[in-house]
């Protein structure tokens, strides 16, 4: 059978492996039936491939009382070059979760597509959705499969967030290149500008913020990341390119409309005009 014989030929019956009872995981099915379609099955030459492909940069996520927010800047870089100004790095994974990616952009986007298909496939075959922990573990397995490429500089580091319907809260998971999975409380950030974003959020985040205020806090954090990290893009006021923001609550997730993000970004920029370092955090104790 040709490489895509089963999938592509309109007039070909269903191959035997399609009818075989077995897994409800799409990635497992793919690795048995057509492993060349898996992102982790790339064979590269020796040496580092890190400078060959664009890299995505900063992703920020924060929880609020009714859900979770994730935002990503729009820049992809190749060395000192800005490879793309309006790349999207935050994607819905399914109705109640989203995934943001830092690292090698091409591989990461492919991995997100596989992860999205994985979740939907399970849902259709089993008639029920995976638990939040189940989803985050599946993503860990996909990242683990990529370790060989990560060692050649093609690392993919996602940030996963979603609303846990059983627990009734927003949850955030971070990963390392070996597939390690870590649950984060309150907020987290990955990518080259993540140190600055995390420092910013540390001062701005409060757990009683509303959804809109949380969005503003993560946009401030991305602004601070862009301020100090050359690979992170700030709000592009001339081209009207603003961060991608996903908001997930018990009613499901949606991408915040560009106009709404623009309004918040304009407000942030307005504040920075007066105070370039951003909102000041209060000091404890009596003022001098």
């Amino acid at each position: 059978m040709s490489a895509l014989g089963g999938a592509a030929g309109s007039f070909v019956g269903l191959p035997a492996s399609f009818m075989a009872p077995g897994t409800s995981s799409f990635a497992d099915f793919l690795s048995a039936h057509q492993p060349d379609l898996l992102p982790s099955s790339r064979v590269t030459g020796l040496g580092s491939a890190a400078d060959l492909a664009p890299h995505g940069t900063t992703i920020v996520a924060a929880t609020f009382s009714g859900g979770v927010v994730m935002a990503g800047d729009r820049r992809a870089t190749m060395g000192n070059i800005i490879a793309q100004r309006d790349i999207e790095k935050v994607f819905p994974a399914d109705e109640y979760s989203c995934v943001g990616i830092a690292g090698t952009a091409g591989l990461a986007v492919e991995m997100v597509r596989l992860f999205q298909t994985e979740l939907e496939h399970y849902e259709k075959i089993e008639g029920s959705t995976l638990s939040m922990d189940g989803k985050s573990n599946r993503l860990a397995a996909l990242i683990r499969g990529n370790l060989g490429l990560a060692m050649q500089g093609l690392a993919v580091v996602p940030l996963f967030a979603g609303f846990d319907l059983d627990a009734g809260i927003g949850r955030i998971f971070s990963y390392d290149v070996t597939g390690g999975r870590y649950e984060e409380t309150a907020f987290h950030s990955v990518g080259s500008g993540s140190l600055f974003a995390r420092g910013s959020l540390k001062k701005l985040y409060r757990d009683d913020l509303s959804a809109d205020a949380t969005v503003q806090a993560v946009v401030e954090a991305l602004y601070d990341a862009a301020d100090d990290d050359s690979a992170t893009g700030g709000p592009d006021v001339t081209r009207r390119i603003f961060p991608v923001v996903q908001v997930i609550t018990a009613d499901g997730g949606h991408r915040m409309a560009d106009e709404d993000v623009a309004t918040i970004a304009d407000r942030v920029i307005d504040g920075r005009m007066r105070r370039p370092d951003g909102p000041a955090a209060e000091l404890e104790g009596p003022r001098r």
Partner: protein, 309 residues
């Protein structure tokens, strides 16, 4: 299957296989697919909450089936794999109902005409919705791999003829969801002798609804939404026990009493085992009166009660 040395004409063999498949399909309750203003509606009387007859395949494609559950479930999973594989390898828009219907037709046709396997006792609908009513497609696939392009509505399963005749008289194209649903449910309850009201909880209802904002247009309608759409319908009357109810979940056949004198009779019955199952010691002629006899006889003496209809 032919006896050795007996010639069976190909015509006769195909006819036997077709009769066999048709008989299996006729044992089940009907499934109706109706095109309405916003897409395609599927309605079936299915008392089981767990085993679905109607399911999602992809963004705009749904699947419905009657017949043997394990066989159509196999086809459904294969369809989901095919669709997800294509959508992943190419793009979501490249997954079409036509390609899926063709794949099913090839598979069913091959199984039907190959001498070895028994034919599948299933009939399928594959539906796909477009951006407008004109783009909606409804395919019917039969056990032998024939594909038919249906218009307006289609029925398959046990009482398909009666239900289809009822729909034929009353179907109006372009109805809204509530009207189409009420018509389909009334048709399901219709029979030559009398009409009955199918209980809400026995209905499996799903739509491909192009007005949904999500890319995945398949949606199940149940609970309050279903009751609300159906409105007041008079006293409900569940269907009686049906042949298909006994297909799954049926316990073992009643075990006949053990004939102790026959060494080849291995069936456990009302007679206790000869040795104590705990200690392995012979329990002696006293048998059940022995105080150490704590294990009850193996196997039920009467068949287990039939699963609720």
């Amino acid at each position: 299957m032919s006896m050795p040395g007996m010639y069976v004409t190909p015509e006769q063999m195909m006819k036997d296989r077709a009769d066999f498949a048709r008989k299996g399909i006729a044992r089940g309750r009907s499934v109706i697919a109706v095109q309405y203003a916003d897409g395609v509606l599927f309605v079936s009387e299915n008392p089981s909450q767990a085993l679905h007859k109607v399911s999602e395949i992809y963004d705009r494609i749904a699947f419905a089936a009657v017949g043997r559950y394990n066989e159509f479930e196999n086809l459904r999973i294969a369809g989901v794999r095919l669709a997800d594989m294509r959508g992943y390898a190419y793009d979501r828009r490249d997954v079409t109902g036509r390609a899926l219907a063709n794949a099913y037709a090839q598979t069913l046709g091959t199984i039907f005409s190959s001498g070895g396997e028994k034919p599948y006792e299933v009939e399928l609908f594959v539906a796909e919705i477009g951006d407008a009513v004109g783009g909606d497609q409804l395919y019917r696939l039969t056990y032998d791999g024939q594909v038919a392009d249906e218009q307006g509505f289609a029925v398959m399963g046990g009482a398909a003829d009666v239900v289809a005749a009822y729909l034929q008289e009353r179907y109006v194209p372009g109805a809204d969801l509530a009207a189409a649903l009420r018509l389909a449910v009334a048709a399901l309850g219709h029979s030559d002798s009398a009409d009955r009201v199918v209980p809400d909880e026995d209905l499996e209802v799903a739509v491909l609804d192009r007005t949904r904002t999500q890319p995945r247009k398949f949606k199940r309608i149940r609970g309050q939404q279903l009751t609300g759409l159906l409105g007041l319908r008079g006293p409900e009357q569940p269907d009686g026990p049906h042949d298909e109810d006994s297909d799954a979940g049926r316990g073992a056949e009643a075990i006949p009493a053990d004939d102790v004198s026959d060494p080849t009779d291995l069936a456990g019955g009302g007679v206790p085992p000869l040795e104590n199952p705990l200690t392995g010691e012979p329990s002696g002629p006293s048998g059940p009166d022995d105080a150490t006899q704590v294990i009850p006889p193996v196997g039920p003496a009467t068949p287990p009660p039939a699963p609720p209809a």
